[in-house]
Amino acid sequence: MESVYMFFNENLLLIYLLLFTIILGFEVISKVPTVLHTPLMSGANAISGVVIIGAIILVRQAQPDDYLTLGLGMLGIILGMVNVMGGFAVTDRMLEMFKKKKK
């Protein structure tokens, strides 16, 4: 139990960040009209590609002769980048059509 208290006290700021982000996520999304659900899901999906940053950090830290890490890291960057680029582009294509019919 003592270690739980310690973890709580030491990571208080992180716990705040987590909780507020969760509340923020719920709040921002819960007002979305049905029409926008697909673009929203797609846009959120693109944001989840933020994991690519981890892959970049991994490759930057890897020793130049550590091909396993470099390979895995580069694979991660490719996967993440497809998610980011594809996600934003697909979302934009969907929303482009909403724009057109507004006039």
Binding site: T21, F26, H37, P39, L58, V90
Partner: protein, 468 residues
Amino acid sequence: MALDTLINLSFLIGAVFFVWGLRLLSSPDTARRGNILAGIGMGIAIIASMVMPMSGAPNNYGWIAGGIVVGGLVGYTSARRIKMTAMPQMVSVFNGLGGACAVVLSMAELIHYYDGSVAMTSGQVLIALLAVLIGGVAFTGSMLAFAKLEGLVWDNTLTLPKHNIINIVLLIATLALAVWVLIQGVGGGVLLLIILLALTLIYGVSFVAPIGGADMPVVISLLNSFTGLSAAAAGLIYNNQIMLVGGILVGASGTILTVLMCEAMNRSLLNVLIGGFGGGGGSSAQGADGPQVVKEVSSSDLAIQLYYSQSVMIVPGYGLAVAQAQKVCKEVDDLLEANGVDVKYAIHPVAGRMPGHMNVLLAEADVPYPKLLDLDDANSSLPDTDVVVIVGANDVVNPAAEDDPGSPIYGMPVLKVWNAKHIVVLKRSMRPGYAGIQNQLFFHEKNKMYFGDAKESLGRLVTELKKL
């Protein structure tokens, strides 16, 4: 020192852009700007992560640039080339790749932990394992969802007898192995980790296997939130706030979207996950009152009926998307409007394979916004509608949801099309819908069937309408 501040500031701005972008995405007028804003936030974060000072890091910029160029090109071209109707599949694939990225990262970290080159506390190992588990399920689950939507895998082929029990056993085994790996510490070794990964990937497939048809949007949304959570876990490994904020945002938004969709179907999430439409006792919907006959209608009769009615309501469904019939549908709409017929569209929240799927399709065909009615508006104007034309929708207009307690979709809010004066169902054949249940609507006294592929059928209708 100044660079440090600049980098941290960039990450902060990136995170704010994510939140602000999502916020703008929630209104039709600002949605496009919101998406672009979130994209800019991502760009800032990626650049910041590349120039971020890291003492003694070899950087390997060649590898990074290579990955970014390849991934960016593949992502961009596939997003541009994909047909509008295949959008749900595409989103599912992108989502799966994000999950895979989190898995690859965590595996790389854990491999270093096991070969002794990096020390990790048990808390960090736990987080890395979580990223592997959640990301792995998101990966294979999304890939199977893609295969199902693309029609590569038929819904029932992957379900084993007692699939729910197998799923639970598999989940428990996977979690137990993860705990075992955690307890073993460095002594565990890479082999155990790879077995865990394999189990996780199998579970992802098995998890999505029994889910099909109308539940597909729910599961994609859920997997999307999984990818977010795995990204957040990876953010904890690298102690990177923007990964954490972005991941949690997606996790929260995916969860709320999943819940909203379940509510639209009047089912609990648990029910969706273990229920597997059509698997559990869906046979009660079979009418017992002898052989039933369906009435058919010809193109010319239907054209005349529509042309001289006051109001027509079109109910689009997945069949419209599959047949790519949205443009022809709009053509029919224009021809009828020209004769003073009031044409509206009734959009069920889960019509198609994604929420808002029909809205996107119809928007592509330039159908104006105000013509699309949501469930409640549609139901209240249905009694005054002369003809309801159902184009490739099935489960969302099934009366069993109202009057057959034995039906798996009992209780789900549906479009009460039987309140209209006449019903016409455009359908390829008498095969039951994706939910695998028979639809009594087809035998309804007001109903006539108009068989054929939605695009061809509507095309024939256009020809007939032009003759009038």
